[in-house]
């Protein structure tokens, strides 16, 4: 399931990040890699705030759909 569909406050382990482009590499350097623990902090009209490692990262919906948990 994409993390975009998960409820606020839930915690998940990343199974995979789809695609193979700059955005995926970018997500990887921010900590979105296989096995990473991600929390859904908030979402606001298509944008998401995700907790990964110990930081808060804002991503748009298209990206949130690509992070599979």
């Amino acid at each position: 399931m994409p993390i975009a569909l998960m409820s606020i406050g839930s915690r998940h382990r990343v199974k995979a990040v789809k695609g193979n482009d700059v955005a995926r590499k970018r997500l990887a350097t921010m900590g979105f890699v296989e096995g990473a623990e991600v929390t859904v902090i908030a979402h606001s009209a298509g944008n998401y705030i995700l907790g990964v490692c110990d930081s808060r990262v804002a991503v748009d919906e298209a990206l949130a759909m690509r992070i599979l948990v």
């Binding site: 890699v33 908030a42 110990d54 804002a58």
Partner: protein, 890 residues
């Protein structure tokens, strides 16, 4: 040893610049969002001048995506500092160590400084620095850059490492077949690349990073030789090479973090930061909250009777002007006679009454005289009287000159019969009689409570009118204007002191005019707005430091996405609230070249600190009762960005989808008083410096071309129409005529605003000096009244034009530099000029039409322009151009 270079490297927003400032004693800008530093900065270590500390833009990894990351990577990889001081955010160890493992592979002497130890300790967590040091194979120190704890040790440790020049045992990040492949690649690279960097080169070859391979100069035969190893490895791990590296790196780091970090059990599941985020990024409330915060800022800065206005009035009329009373010391303690024991304000009120009696009676007398002796007879009689008096005039001492009388009672008998009816004091704003205030207990109480008093039977609240006869006139004549310096503790203003000082020196009128009206007048106009911009900057510093501004980018993303920009483009626009120059540079954080160009064009539409001055001046003079005008200018700025963005995106230059939006949001924290004060002071200082360095010479130059004609003859004040400035302004005034301020004054102010935006206010003050009016504000008000029948519309149009045309010349130069190509620079200017002109034209022409000013050629032009603009916004979008794909880190 020559200069030792120590580079500060680390994730964005981990405190590099704070550490840099602490080590070097400099004053670089620090903000609580990622990407504040976009350029490498050098400074010398305090107390050790052969050590250069270098602040680099923050990076998440050594594979850069945006321009400012390229700056950092290129420096570290190609120029090689003597040592790297890697700053690691202790409260986010895992993500930060990702970069650390990459930096270690560069083979440079390195020290890891774990920052934000105060936050870590507050959370109740523990970091085992010794163990971390052992795992990473390099020295580790704990610091708190904000508090200056351990920073010196970190720098000295890095210095020691640099002098040793050797690196320790590198950690074994990779395992199994990956390590095997890497070792093999490293072996084949032996002798082809520098030994120290062989690990880094091997990984880059493994990742098939073409750019890095090119820079390292790895021969093509080696690449093809090792390709089989890479493919084997990919097959075995069922993943692409790059992901394998990333994943193994994270696995390794998780292992380290597990052993060195002891997490406190009492940690709350959702932090306060997350709770605030749920609120301020709320689906519906987010935007209202943002606009509300803008309104609060502007209320503080320019609202009538708000703190900003009170301070500005004091700065303009008091501190920089004639002088001011210390608070609560306005009691007449030094004067005897009429004003004895009065408060200054009451004395002024009393004088206004007496003055009204005097002038009204004199007027009535003149009318009666003319009625008795025929039209114009009074003026003739007064002339005859003055001539006679001049002939009889004997100077009492040398230098005395005859002064003609402006009013004389020439017919005593007539005077006794003259009574002026219904004399009143005009209210400054409405021109109506001021209301009566009686002293009865009931009314006084009501007034104190701030209520209007009426209907208590004593006439309170009714227009205050009275009659004046000859006897009353003679008494009224004796009242002299109260001298403020005789009341309480009076502090003379700089303007007054300057005038007095020049008088004492005995300089000529011309020099006095140059200094007082020209140079000082202009500079004082600009300095008078220091309170306003201080409040705006204070508020901005607070929002930036606490972390809210990064959320604004997040909120704006969904709006910006509609026209194909990401929320990241809003960061430069936030910076642009302070100044357009760093704003244009801040666009470097945007990955896509196309989006970056568009952001540069649009970001200066946000009214900057200097434009704030124009807004403040016009809000104070023309829109006092319209509190929403000032925040409206920010909203218009954002609206232009959104609509302009939509229109640009539909043009063939910018077509394409928005880049994906990924941005780290810093944790909220309560800003320190010192930090906010520091930010604000730095910006205000820059503003005041500009008043001296740019506004001062510009005003002297303007005064010069305003007071001299083309043959360099000094002109009298009345002959200003022959001046060079008048002619120059007149040549281009036609350009501004459709906007409602097509006079030489309006043209001169608008053109000079390109020097620096606040120059518009200084120039207006200068060119309006010949207008009627007691204060600069009144003179400017009269200046706009002279432009036509709709002074408020002309004022609005002037303000809009100067806010939304191309920024000042420094920002324009920065735009050209950051665009990289002159053609894009010109494009930006043409676009901005069109927007500013079209906006001012539409508001003025359509405003005039609505106000009943009739339909003219320019009204038609304005409507046509608007229709065309609407078409560019609403026409169907173009398909993306193939060549304009997202450009990856070059």
């Amino acid at each position: 040893m020559a200069n030792i270079k120590i580079a500060l490297a680390g994730n964005p927003n981990c405190g590099k610049t704070t550490l840099f400032n602490d080590l070097t004693g400099s004053d670089q800008y620090v903000g609580n969002w990622p990407g504040v530093t976009v350029e490498k900065k050098d400074g010398r270590l305090k107390g050790a001048h052969d050590v250069v500390i270098q602040d680099l833009p923050g990076i998440y990894s050594l594979s850069p995506y945006s321009l400012e990351e390229v700056v950092a990577r290129n420096y570290l990889v190609n120029e090689k500092p003597d040592a790297i001081l890697n700053i690691v955010d202790g409260s986010n160890l895992e993500r930060n160590l990702y970069l650390t493992t990459q930096l270690l592979e560069l083979g440079l002497p390195m020290v890891v400084a774990v920052n934000m130890m105060d936050v870590v300790k507050r959370n109740g967590d523990k970091i085992d620095a010794t163990r971390l040091s052992k795992s990473l194979g390099c020295p580790v120190v704990e610091i708190s850059a904000l508090k200056g704890e351990g920073t010196r040790e970190a720098a000295e440790l890095a210095l020691a490492e640099a002098k040793k020049g050797v690196k320790g045992e590198r950690p074994h990040v990779f395992t199994g077949s990956v390590e095997h492949a890497l070792a093999h690649i490293e072996e084949s690279l032996h002798g082809k690349v520098e030994n120290a960097t062989s690990r880094w080169a091997a990984i880059k070859v493994f990742e098939r990073d073409k750019k890095a391979i090119e820079t390292l100069g790895v021969p093509a035969d080696i690449i093809s030789h090792v390709e089989d190893h890479i493919t084997d490895c990919e097959k075995e791990m069922d993943d692409d090479a790059e992901s394998i590296i990333t994943t193994q790196r994270y696995n390794y780091i998780q292992g380290i973090v597990g052993t060195v970090l002891t997490r406190s059990s009492r940690r709350a599941s959702t932090s306060l930061s997350d709770k605030i985020d749920k609120f301020v990024t709320h689906r519906i409330l987010a935007l209202p909250i943002f606009i509300l915060s803008l309104c609060v800022m502007w209320w503080l800065a320019v609202a009538e009777k708000g703190p900003g206005t009170i301070l500005t009035d004091w700065a303009n009329d008091g501190f920089l002007g004639d002088g001011w009373h210390l608070p609560f010391t306005t009691h007449a303690c030094k004067v005897d006679g009429k004003y004895k024991d009065m408060e200054f304000e009451d004395a002024q009120g009393e004088f206004a009454k007496q003055d009204a009696s005097k002038s009204k009676w004199e007027e009535t007398y003149k009318e009666s005289y003319n009625a008795k002796n025929g039209e114009g007879s009074y003026d003739k009689a007064l002339e005859a009287f003055n001539e006679k008096a001049k002939a009889e005039f004997k100077p009492e001492k040398e230098g005395d000159e005859f002064e003609a009388s402006e009013f004389e009672v020439l017919d005593e008998a007539l005077a006794k019969t003259v009574v002026a009816k219904d004399v009143f004091v005009e209210d400054e704003e409405t021109g109506e009689p001021v209301a009566k205030e009686c002293d009865c207990e009931k009314c006084s109480k009501k007034r104190e409570a701030g209520e209007e008093c009426d209907g208590c039977g004593c006439g309170c609240g009714e227009p205050d009118k009275w009659d004046v006869d000859y006897a009353a006139y003679q008494k009224a004549k004796e009242w002299e204007e109260p001298d403020p310096s005789q009341f309480g503790v009076w502090v003379p203003g700089i303007g007054a002191l300057l005038g007095d000082g020049l008088d004492k020196l005995g300089v000529g009128e011309t020099v006095k005019s140059l200094v007082v009206d020209g140079a000082w007048g202009g500079v004082a106009t600009v300095l008078g707005f220091v309170p306003v911009i201080t409040i705006v900057f204070l508020f901005l510093a607070f929002l930036e430091d606490c972390g809210y501004m990064a959320r604004v980018a997040f909120i704006m993303d969904r709006i910006f996405r509609k026209f194909g920009l990401s929320g990241k483009s809003f960061i430069p626009m936030i910076v642009g609230k302070g100044c357009g120059v760093p704003a244009v540079m801040a666009a470097r954080t945007i990955e896509s070249e196309r989006d970056r160009r568009m952001t540069i064009i649009l970001s200066t539409f946000i009214p900057c600190g200097a434009k704030t001055v124009i807004i403040a001046m016009f809000a104070a003079i023309f829109f006092r009762e319209m509190w929403y005008v000032a925040p409206l200018m920010d909203v218009i700025g954002i609206a232009i960005i959104v609509l302009g963005g939509i229109a640009l995106k539909k043009s063939r230059f910018f077509a394409g989808e928005a880049a994906p939006f990924v941005m780290e949001l810093p944790a909220y924290h309560m800003p320190t008083f010192g930090g906010i004060f520091h930010h604000t002071w730095n910006r205000v200082k820059g503003y005041m410096l500009k008043a001296g360095v740019i506004i001062f010479p510009a005003c002297v130059f303007l005064w010069f071309i305003m007071h001299f004609d083309w043959h360099f003859n000094l002109l009298a004040d009345e002959a200003i129409e022959q001046s060079m400035l008048h002619d120059m302004g007149s040549w281009i005034a036609w350009f501004f005529a459709p906007l409602g301020f097509g006079s030489w004054q309006g043209a001169a102010a608008s053109v000079s605003a390109e020097i620096a935006k606040e120059q518009a206010t200084a120039t207006l003050g200068l060119v309006a000096a010949n207008m009627d009016g007691a204060s600069t504000a009144a003179q400017i008000s009269n200046l706009f009244a002279s432009f036509g029948d709709f002074p408020k519309l002309a004022a609005m149009s002037f303000m809009l034009f100067n806010l939304f045309v191309p920024p000042c010349m420094v920002a324009i130069a920065t735009t050209f530099r950051e665009m990289g190509a002159a053609k894009w620079g010109w494009f930006a200017i043409a676009f901005q000029l069109f927007v500013g002109y079209a906006l001012a034209l539409s508001v003025y022409q359509i405003g005039v039409l609505i106000a009943g000013g009739g339909f003219g050629v320019w009204t038609a032009v304005a409507i046509l322009v608007d229709l065309w603009v609407l078409w560019t916004i609403f026409r169907p979008a173009r398909k993306a151009n193939g060549e304009l794909k997202l450009e990856n880190g070059k």
